[in-house]
Symmetry: C2
Subunit: 107 residues, 2 copies
C-alpha cells in the first residue's frame, strides 16, 4: 500500500509538525462545535422572527448525525470524536427545538 502523506511526514524532519497538527485537530474537534452558538443566539434571542428561514430538516439531520458519531466515538473509545459530537448533538437539538418553537413545523 502507498504511504500516506502523514507517514512520509512522520519519517521526515517535519514529523514534529505533524504531531502538533494532530494535537491541534483534537482541539478543533472539541471546540469547533461551539461555532453553532451565534446561530443559536440569532434563533432564540435576536432574530426569532426569521426562524422560518431555518431548515428543520437540515438541523434534525445534523442532530441525528452527531448522535451517530457520538455513539460511534463512545464505542471506539475516541475522546475527540465523542466529546465534540456530544456537544454538537446538544446544540443541534437546541436548534431543532428553537425552530419548532419559533417557526413550527417547516421543511
Amino acid at each position: 500500500m502507498a504511504e500516506t502523506l502523514a507517514e512520509k511526514l512522520e519519517k521526515s524532519n517535519l514529523g514534529h509538525w505533524m504531531a502538533r497538527f494532530e494535537g491541534f485537530m483534537v482541539f478543533v474537534g472539541v471546540v469547533g462545535p461551539f461555532a453553532t452558538l451565534p446561530q443559536l443566539v440569532k434563533l432564540y434571542f435576536t432574530h426569532s422572527q426569521h426562524a422560518t428561514g431555518q431548515s428543520l430538516l437540515s438541523w434534525s439531520l445534523y442532530a441525528a448525525l452527531s448522535m451517530l458519531w457520538f455513539i460511534y466515538g463512545m464505542i471506539v473509545g475516541k475522546l475527540p470524536i465523542y466529546v465534540g459530537n456530544g456537544i454538537s448533538m446538544i446544540l443541534n437539538l437546541l436548534m431543532v427545538i428553537g425552530i419548532l418553537i419559533h417557526a413550527g413545523v417547516t421543511f
Copy 2:
C-alpha cells in the same frame, strides 16, 4: 490500557455487527454533509427574505472547520474524512456566499 468497547465487541460474537457499523459510518460520513441541501434551498430560493436570521459567523466557522478536516483527511489519507468534509466545505461556503448576497454583513 483498558480495552475499548469496540475491541471487546470484535472479540465477541458481535464482531460481525461492529464491522457493519464501521461500514455504515463511512457511508454516514460521505452522505451526511448533504443534510445542508434543504438549508441551501431555503436560503437561496424559498426563504431568502429570512437570510438575516442565518449566522454568518457560524457558517464561516463551519466552512473553516470543514476545510481544516479536509486538509487533515488528505494528509492522513482517510477517504471518509476528506470526501465528507470536502463536500461540507463546498456547501458551507455556499451558505456563507448566500448570506452575504441576501443579508449582507451580519453576525
